[in-house]
């Protein structure tokens, strides 16, 4: 929660204190050097002030020992900061294995969130406390950047691909959510809040705001609506690969290479299907670029992700 004159941001995620500790460490080092140099400059300036108009300074040229010292110490300190910064960074970059996934799409100038349970929100995001949450995001137009100051995390949302960030909120309450990458006219209006709820309240909120349909179910509808089903079903006349259990598998491609079927791959398969052709299938799938929105792609992806492996099916993805 924001006080009226804040001096330090809320620490509302597990990572926040790690970031802040690093911040304090570098502040300490920086202060030390700032004070050291300032004091020396002042002391020298006073002590050795010019007393006679034609006076010159002592002819001192340098000292190798000193040079080594003041190269070495900053170097060691700098490497310390690097290693510390790197470990914090990797902790931010590496997503824990169990997360609650939420999809986000940035668009001039709003954030659209989709929960797997089917809820949609704009410029507001509800998350449970003490649960690792992962936000998978993309953009419909230009660069945006999803930023939660209280969690100390941000990530650019980039058109044409997915990026992600994660956090575990440790405090309930309402915190800022900003767009931190300049995106045009209403960049500063592309803000909102993240609401951290206790687990039970979150469940209640999920129930209350629910449309009754999970994201996967919405995707299933789209799957029929866009006639994907005409090709991607065991009974289809024109056969495309069965998508059951596809997510996370390694797919053999006609080009001889293989690729892991992640969200990026599914997205590409829908929007630019010819870019990677599955081995053994003709390149007949039409592109859906311009027909499905990024949000619908996410729903379709979520649907494909939800499909259980089809047991014993010959059409299961090749390995």
């Amino acid at each position: 929660m924001q006080s009226s004159i804040p001096i330090f941001p809320d620490q509302a995620s597990t990572i926040a204190s790690r970031v802040d500790n690093l911040y304090f460490f570098i502040t300490a080092v920086a202060t030390f050097f700032a004070v050291l140099v300032t004091v020396l400059v002042i002391v020298f300036a006073v002590r050795y002030r010019r007393r006679k108009a034609d006076e010159v300074g002592e002819p001192i040229h340098g000292s190798l020992a000193l040079e080594i010292i003041w190269t070495g110490i900053p170097f060691v300190l700098a490497m310390t900061m690097f290693v510390w910064g790197a470990s914090v960074f990797m902790a931010i970059a590496r997503v824990p294995s169990e997360t609650l996934d939420i999809y986000a799409v940035g668009k001039q100038w709003m954030w659209k969130f989709q929960h797997r349970e089917g809820q949609r929100e704009i410029n507001e995001l509800h998350v449970p406390v003490n649960t690792p949450v992962r936000v998978i995001m993309t953009s419909e137009d230009v660069l945006h950047d999803l930023y939660f100051p209280a969690f100390r995390v941000k990530m650019d949302a980039i058109p044409g691909r997915y990026t992600q960030l994660w956090f575990t909120a440790t405090q309930t309450g309402r915190f800022h959510l900003f767009c931190a990458e300049y995106c045009g006219t209403n960049h500063s209006g592309m803000i909102g809040s993240v609401v951290v709820l206790p687990q039970e309240e979150y469940e209640a909120w999920l129930g209350g705001a629910s449309t009754g349909e999970t994201l996967a179910q919405q995707g299933e509808k789209l799957f029929t609506q866009f006639a994907c089903i005409t090709c991607h079903s065991p009974t289809a006349a024109v056969r495309g690969p069965l998508l059951n259990g596809l997510f996370g598998q390694t797919v053999q491609l006609a080009s001889g290479t293989s690729v892991v079927a992640d969200a990026d791959y599914i997205r590409e398969s829908i929007l630019n299907p010819q870019a990677k052709i599955v081995a053994g299938y003709p390149p007949i799938m039409p592109t859906f670029q311009g027909q499905v929105s990024e949000e619908q792609v996410l729903a379709l992806t979520e649907y494909i992700r939800s499909l259980p492996p089809a047991e014993g099916s010959a059409a299961a993805p090749q390995h």
Binding site: V19, R49, E58, F89, Y147, P159, G184
Partner: protein, 549 residues
């Protein structure tokens, strides 16, 4: 400490201007617009960039006024976006990049090495014309409504989405980029080929070393930003281009190309300032710079290693964590040469004969503010911390501390120091000290609060912001007003002194260096006879009498 100074200028009775010098050698507008004299071209640049500084400063004031109130006090977000973009573009490309090199560097570099001019005087003039043409495009873009992409021109916003004057503005930057390349080229060749007899590499003033390093960056980096801006323009005109994700292009690639120049460019903006400071500290301590070779080579190290760190602007932009870490460690390495410089400057003061003339006050100011700016760079280079502060006011404060607190201070310090050489006149001492003080105070009031509000999470490029950040913004705006006054004062009294100041004499500060051995102002070809350089020309406390052959 008591050896009396030896040198030409030790006892100058009532100095007077020389009869003939570069300013009165020829007359008329044409003699200026067609001049090939590096000193006059330096002054042409001085005049031009001062206009751009005022323009950029005007936009800074608009930005600050807007941020007085959380809802935005004076303009719509659209106008605000144009205001900060024009502020950044003008200040970087049309003011700070050329600031010290094209004015003081142009004026002094040949004199300091004992040459009659730069190697290519006409190319030097061409550089100024290109700069002016580029500037005119910038102003046309401005008159047509301005550019609203931020000074970084990120795609796809700049190429596909913005409906502002990206093409005209981009062209302006492209053209003025060549001005910068030509300046760098000229400096490099001049330093290699035009040194006077006896002016060995290790007798070169550190100012020259710094400009040599700067020039390397100018010639190696600028072409890359030129082509990237051109590719953006290409994409914008054709509506299809190589950064376009819808055909499989990568917007992040633009950022790589942009920062390949623009990170080194921040060293274009600071190295010449460091060169000035090395001269000032030596001069006003009447002492040779401590660890000359380390200071000289650290400039080169900054120039070279500075090319390896650009990805620290992209930690959260979609580059992989692995390259982020690589860029992080390299960023820390490039900080070390700056540390070396800082400590050597400090050590130079030890047992010096320190006077508090105005340029030295600026040098002290530089030390303090550059320190804060540089040290806050260490926060940003820590990848895990930058995730939080990236694109917040913390970054804005960081770079203003270095660019405004550091380089601008050095620029003003150098301008005061060499003003007597440039104009032959002394500036008013009292006023100049007062303005140095005002600038220092105003500066800190403007930008220190931005660190705090930045760490709190206030994003940059925001036309409106949550109300709890207001107090910091009000302080900042108050500071900017003071700062503005601080900057206007020198412009006024320096101009005044040009006409009414007291004649300075050849070496008013009683210091070393070839530039002080010629007249103030110097003759058109700098020296009446080619000087022969010895240790005594450049070293303090050298027993030998200075020879001007």
């Amino acid at each position: 400490m008591s050896t009396p100074i030896t040198g030409t200028g030790s006892a100058v009775p009532a100095p007077a201007l020389p009869e003939r010098h570069y300013l009165n050698a020829t007359h008329g507008l044409k003699s200026w617009l067609l001049t090939t004299d590096h000193k006059r071209i330096g002054l042409l640049y001085l005049f031009t960039i001062t206009i751009f500084f005022l323009l950029g400063g005007l936009f800074a004031l608009l930005v600050r006024l807007q941020l007085l109130s959380p809802q935005g006090a004076i303009m719509t977000p659209d106008v605000y976006n144009r205001a900060f973009t024009m502020h950044g573009v003008i200040m970087v490309f049309f003011f700070l990049v050329p600031s010290i090199p094209a004015t003081l560097g142009n004026f002094l570099l040949p004199i300091m090495i004992g040459a009659k001019d730069l190697a290519f005087p006409r190319i030097n003039l061409l550089s100024w014309y290109l700069f002016v043409i580029g500037g005119i495009f910038g102003i046309v873009a401005l008159a047509g409504g301005g550019v609203d992409t931020g000074w970084t021109f990120y795609t796809p916003y700049s190429s596909m989405s913005s409906n502002s004057r990206v093409l005209t503005g981009g062209l302006g930057i492209f053209i003025s980029g060549f001005a910068s390349i030509l300046t760098g080229l000229n400096f490099i060749v001049t330093t290699h080929r035009m040194r006077a007899p006896g002016m060995t590499w290790f007798r070169l003033p550190l100012f020259v070393w710094a400009h040599y390093a700067t020039s390397l960056i100018m010639i190696l980096g600028t072409p890359v930003v030129a082509i990237s801006v051109l590719l953006v323009m290409f994409e914008r005109v054709l509506r299809v281009g190589i950064f376009d994700p819808s055909i499989g292009g990568d917007p992040v690639l633009f950022q790589h190309l942009f920062w390949f120049y623009s990170h080194p460019a921040v060293y274009i903006m600071v190295l010449p300032g460091m060169g000035v400071i090395s001269e000032l500290i030596a001069a006003y301590s009447r002492k040779n710079i401590f660890g000359y070779a380390f200071v000289a080579f650290s400039s080169l190290a900054i120039a070279v290693v500075g090319f390896l760190v650009w990805g620290h602007h992209m930690f959260v932009a979609g580059e992989t964590p692995y390259s982020a870490l690589l860029f992080s460690v390299l960023s820390y390495i490039v900080a070390v040469p700056s540390a070396i410089k800082t400590f050597n400057w400090t050590a130079t003061l030890y047992r010096g004969s320190i006077s508090y003339d105005t340029p030295m006050l600026y040098a002290f100011g530089f030390l303090g503010l550059f320190l804060v700016g540089g040290l806050t760079g260490l926060f940003l280079a820590a990848a895990g911390l930058d995730v939080h502060v990236h694109d917040t006011y913390f970054v804005v404060a960081h770079f203003h501390y270095i660019m405004v607190g550091g380089t601008l201070m050095a620029y003003l310090g150098g301008m005061h120091y060499w003003w007597p050489k440039i104009t032959g006149k002394l500036y008013p001492e009292g006023w100049s000290k007062l303005s140095a003080l005002i600038i220092f105070v105003g500066f800190n009031l403007t930008f220190f609060p931005q660190f705090l509000v930045g760490y709190l999470g206030m994003p940059r490029r925001y036309a409106m912001y949550p109300p709890e950040f207001q107090i910091y913004n009000v302080l900042s705006t108050a500071g900017a007003t003071i700062l503005g006054v601080g900057y206007l004062l020198p412009m006024i009294y320096l101009t005044w002194s040009w006409f009414y100041g007291k004649p300075a004499g050849n070496n008013p500060w009683n210091v070393k260096g070839l530039e002080w051995q010629t007249t103030s102002p110097p003759p058109t070809f700098n020296f009446d006879e080619t000087p022969i350089v010895t240790d005594a020309t450049v070293l303090y406390g050298h027993p030998e009498e200075v020879k001007v052959a």
